[in-house]
């Protein structure tokens, strides 16, 4: 009875996952906090309020996790809650239509050319760019988050990418 433990690879299989939404939300938070905060900051205006919105959004998601039906990704569902918290924070609870959101880089002085390139994009397309490149969301999740079809995300991001490429190439020529 006092023999040594099995090596991990030899162990009898135990929990593959603790399939608890709480654990999944915690894992999402630990893996994606920085990306979520940076993406939210483009809407809230600064990293401090973005952090607060992410904290509040994750707390709401954690508290109401039994309402998650698994019909879409957990990531997309949590993002919508976080995003709503950010908008409430910015507008003191007043609802804001998605089209009226003007996401922007928080510290424009760090890359004026990128700011200028982004400024050429309509606001919704810009938001998708931030969700893609800051929050690292996939197309399906961005579609859920922005409440559009996945095909729309693909087309929008393709256009945005082309526009950004053109702008940044021009910037490259100038420099």
């Amino acid at each position: 009875m006092n023999g040594g433990s099995l090596k991990n690879s030899q162990r009898p299989s135990l929990y593959l996952t603790v399939d608890d939404l709480a654990a999944r939300i915690e894992q999402l938070y630990r893996e994606r906090f920085v990306g979520f905060r940076n993406a939210v900051a483009t809407v809230s205006g600064d990293h401090e309020s973005a952090r607060d919105a992410v904290q509040e959004g994750f707390a709401r998601a954690y508290r109401s996790r039994e309402q998650f039906r698994g019909e879409g990704s957990l990531e997309g569902w949590v993002w919508r809650i976080v995003f709503r918290a950010a908008l409430e924070h910015r507008n003191e609870g007043a609802p804001v239509p998605l089209d009226q959101i003007e996401p922007n880089l928080v510290e424009p002085e760090r890359d004026p050319a990128l700011v200028e390139a982004l400024a050429q994009l309509p606001s919704r397309r810009r938001l998708m760019v931030f969700l893609r490149y800051f929050a690292d969301l996939d197309y399906a999740t961005i579609a859920e988050a922005c409440e559009v079809e996945e095909g729309t995300v693909a087309a929008t991001l393709a256009q945005a990418r082309a526009a950004l490429a053109t702008s940044l190439e021009r910037e490259g020529v100038r420099s």
């Binding site: 099995l6 135990l14 929990y15 603790v18 608890d20 709480a22 906090f33 990128l114 490429a165």
Partner: protein, 446 residues
């Protein structure tokens, strides 16, 4: 080309990203706890009281739970505590199952669970490799507090139980297991098959399964916050550990220094006592201990009950001495050692909400007669055959006031040498025409 552009854009975004990770999961948990979860399945005045009561408890519990989480981070133990009050409510069927623990408990053993406060804690998923084919992959844990400070729990597709608030160390019967409470099922060979249980918060750091071949494995503990204050585990023993050489021998609770603070052992069935399929002389097949010599079995009692079903008793010799018996109400294979130490008479009624209700028992050789005594003064004499009695309790004795209260054993001289008494008013034993609703979907004959 697209990938190159994508990489270029990503690089620009990475360069302006704020990489500082100022996240704080404990802050998220604290915010989550700042509002009580809404249980939409409950309503009505009696539960409103509970909700008020638990709102107050929740505030205290939130502070305690937060302190525990902080402690966990500081000391690295326990790794994660699942907050009871922010866990989602259990479905109605589970609340009913917990409620049945109350209303279905024998007299004096009601755990006083609070079914309406049952929460879904987590789900454990096991992969296919090594899992016994009879086992489902998912087990969901539900836990409810009790009114006396304990808890009741249920793992789906497994087992469950209740624990009182008393510290087990003060209970002599539970002293050996320490802070552990373990239940398990076994294979036909008697090897532990599915083990589940709980461990109270305290000194325990890990739970370890120890096998006969000297190997060990650590079982994940799911710690649950106040008012539960316990950790729960479930462990389907892998198929490769279903042999005598490497079967699960014990589950132990270890403290931070690796000292055993609680132990539940699983004595291995002796090879002769392992169940194997055997054939009786009339051709019927039964799972019997290897020690039972089925070829020499004799059917000593056989009759048709009032419902038309057949009641029977088979007896057969046991390898190595002793006796094996089999009936449609009892079976066993005691060795000569245990036969010598058995009581003068041991019998009882075994029934359900449906007839027939049978009385069966086993008597020592000195017993010449058994007398059944009923509440209404009626008596019935039985003569043991090879030490066994089996009879049907007639429907005229189903009603309260007419039930069995004692079995008296007499020797050959007519002297009463032993009396076994029965509680006549225990529900769920005597059949009835209309079972009464005991609550939580449980219908039982009174």
């Amino acid at each position: 080309m697209t990938e190159a552009i994508d990489l270029l854009i990503q690089t620009r975004f990475d360069a302006v990203a704020n990489l500082a990770d100022d996240g704080d999961w404990n802050d998220v948990l604290a915010r989550a706890r700042s509002a009580e979860p809404v249980d939409r399945t409950r309503s009505g005045p009696p539960l409103a009281y509970l909700r008020r009561r638990f709102t107050r408890v929740a505030l205290i519990a939130a502070v305690v739970a937060l302190a525990l989480v902080v402690t966990a981070v500081a000391f690295g133990w326990p790794r994660t505590i699942i907050d009871f009050f922010t866990s989602p409510p259990a479905p109605r069927a589970i609340k009913n199952a917990i409620g049945i623990d109350n209303v279905g408990a024998p007299k004096g053993m009601n755990p006083r669970a609070i079914p309406g406060e049952t929460r879904r804690i987590m789900t454990a998923r096991f992969d296919d490799s090594g899992r016994h084919p009879d086992h489902p992959a998912l087990h969901t844990l539900y836990v409810a507090p009790t009114r006396n400070g304990g808890f009741c729990y249920e793992w789906t597709n497994a087992d469950g139980g209740c624990a009182s608030a008393k510290n087990p160390e003060t209970n002599a019967g539970l002293r050996a297991t320490g802070p552990l409470g373990v239940t398990w099922s076994v294979t036909n060979g008697g090897y532990p098959l599915l083990v589940d249980g709980w461990v109270r918060t305290g000194a325990t750091k890990t739970i370890e399964a120890r096998f006969a071949d000297g190997t060990t494995t650590t079982l994940p503990i799911n710690w649950v916050s106040a008012p539960i204050n316990a950790g729960f585990f479930v462990y389907p023993v892998p198929e490769e550990h279903q042999t005598r050489a490497n079967a699960l021998g014990s589950v132990v609770a270890l403290d931070a220094s690796g000292r055993v603070v609680g132990r539940q052992t699983f004595p291995l069935t002796k090879a002769l006592d392992e169940d194997v399929m055997q054939t009786l002389p009339d051709g019927t097949k039964y799972s019997l201990p290897r020690s039972a010599i089925a070829a020499r079995a004799r059917k000593i009692i056989s009759f048709r009950t009032t419902t038309g079903s057949r009641a029977y008793v088979w007896v057969m010799p046991r390898r190595g001495g002793g006796l094996c018996f089999l009936s449609n109400r009892m079976d066993g294979c005691p060795s000569a050692y245990w036969l010598a130490r058995s009581p003068v008479f041991n019998g009882g009624v075994s029934g359900s909400t449906n007839p027939p209700l049978l009385f069966s028992g086993r008597a020592k050789p000195e017993v010449a007669r058994i007398e059944l005594r009923y509440q209404n003064g009626e008596r019935e004499r039985l003569t043991p055959i090879d030490g066994f009695v089996l009879t049907e309790i007639k429907p005229t004795h189903y009603a309260r006031g007419k039930r069995l209260v004692a079995a008296v054993a007499f020797d050959r001289r007519g002297t009463a040498i032993f009396t076994q008494r029965y509680e006549p008013n225990t529900g769920g034993i005597y059949p009835c025409k209309k079972p009464t609703n005991r609550g939580y979907g449980l219908k039982m004959c009174p």
